[in-house]
Amino acid sequence: MAIRKVCGIETEYGITLRGAGESNPIAASSVLINAYVASLARKVEWDFEDESPGTDARGFSLEGSSPPEVETHLVNAVLTNGARYYVDHAHPEISTPECLDAREVVVWDRAAERILVASMDAAKSILPPGQEIVVHKNNSDGKGNSYGCHENYLMDRAVPFSRVVQGITPFFVSRQIVVGAGKVGCEAPGVSWREVPFQISQRADFFEEEVGLETTLKRPIVNTRDEPHCDAQKYRRLHVIIGDANLSEVSTFLKVGTTAIVLAMIEDEELGRDMTLTAPVSALRQVSYDLTLRRPIELATGAKITALELQWHYLDLAKKYAESRGLAAVGEEVGADILRRWEHVLNGLETDPTSLADQLDWVAKRQLIEGYRDRHDLAWDDAKLKALDLQYHDIRPERSLASRVGLERLVGDEEVASAMTNPPRTTRAWFRGTCLQRWASAVVAANWDSLVFDVGGDPLRRVPMMEPLRGTAALLEDLVNSCSTPAELIERLGA
């Protein structure tokens, strides 16, 4: 039986310091995050004890591949909503807390955006007059530099990784027609804007391999980073690097929701026949460049299939899977909503993609940019169109274009505001966030799978959290509420 698909998103935001001439993005990211953290009660440092991003899920290490480095000296904070907020390379990055389902991911991803907006405001008040830090929730600068929006899904360690790769690759190549964020122009070497004036995905141009450990060079469709952040004997964390950062809540919901269902089907061996593609990397770009959604790609069997037909294939299997085995792995209610919306979107893509301009980022962005282009009679290489593309991803309320194009909302503003400081009640993030809310001064370090307390006198006490579905409000709220000090909590937990 497939295990519960605990999930989350980590997003690197594009960052610019305006009004200061030359600027250092690492310094700007630090200022941004420190400004936010300083506006909160107290900062808890991230604990790097269990970080091992160079471990490969295939069980070996490739010679000449460079495992990602964890930069321990940079700003790194744990928030009371269970999220991690830090400087990664030259970007501010925020990881949502562990969520139970796709809907929760939408809530805490939106909350993360709000945290970035609050950070920009906080930074403005400490920067010299005329200077401003601006972040964009996108994945490329249009000049060949890309940064990621990674998803994470809890997987059963017993499932052979090769089966995951085989089952998920055709899904990843095709899902961009649903979850792509759209992009003006092309950043693949040797392809001009005349050939590709607009494409479906932000990221397709940057993928060069089918499977691998890298995230910054030779990016692979399936990333093999094996760093479970929980009991490594039982679980793996599938680290998905191929997605675009979405502004549309429906896109985020479908990105996480459909992927979680397909992964559950892989665990349960319900994926039917082999849909291996002849050339996934070139297919990925071809699908991103084909706004007609009609050009077929080739399966290893020699048969031809479009990305839309591939998505229908996966949806069809998912509906049968829901009937025969149920959708407990992604949540029955949320799962039913995912299937309903997935089918609605595929129907729309088949009959009239423009009807989805209130749901899918790439469609919404394309409508906006083509509308502007028609009105002003502009060529596709006009800077105004690229500016519109970038500004679609500006999350400042006064500048955001995504918030003005009429995208459907799935979650409420109050719920999102609450998620800026409160953790999900449904995963171990509840324990992390709640301890930080109540006893921040006693929590000396935190990471995904443990909290370290200083309760005075004795050595520091580490509370392990190796099970993502323990440490929930349902399991611990009464106990935590009945403790008046962290020392009492530690004693009662038997840690």
Binding site: N145, T216, S355
Partner: protein
């Protein structure tokens, strides 16, 4: 050929939905277009002032 036949399998279910939804879809399309027109009327007020400078100076380091 077997491949194509298998792919067509979900077709009946799809067609049913399409027939039901087509009027809704085009109505919705009209509404979205009208809203887009309104947005385009006002958009210059929120756009970055100098598109060329903005686009040229938007340079990021690679990440991940």
């Amino acid at each position: 050929m077997a491949e194509r036949e298998q792919k067509r399998k979900p077709a009946p279910a799809k067609e049913e939905t399409v027939v039901e939804e087509t009027p809704g879809v085009s109505e919705k399309g009209e509404k979205i277009k009208a809203e887009l027109d309104d947005l385009l009327d006002e958009i210059d007020e929120v756009l970055e002032e100098n598109a060329e400078d903005f686009v040229r100076s938007y340079v990021q380091k690679g990440g991940e």
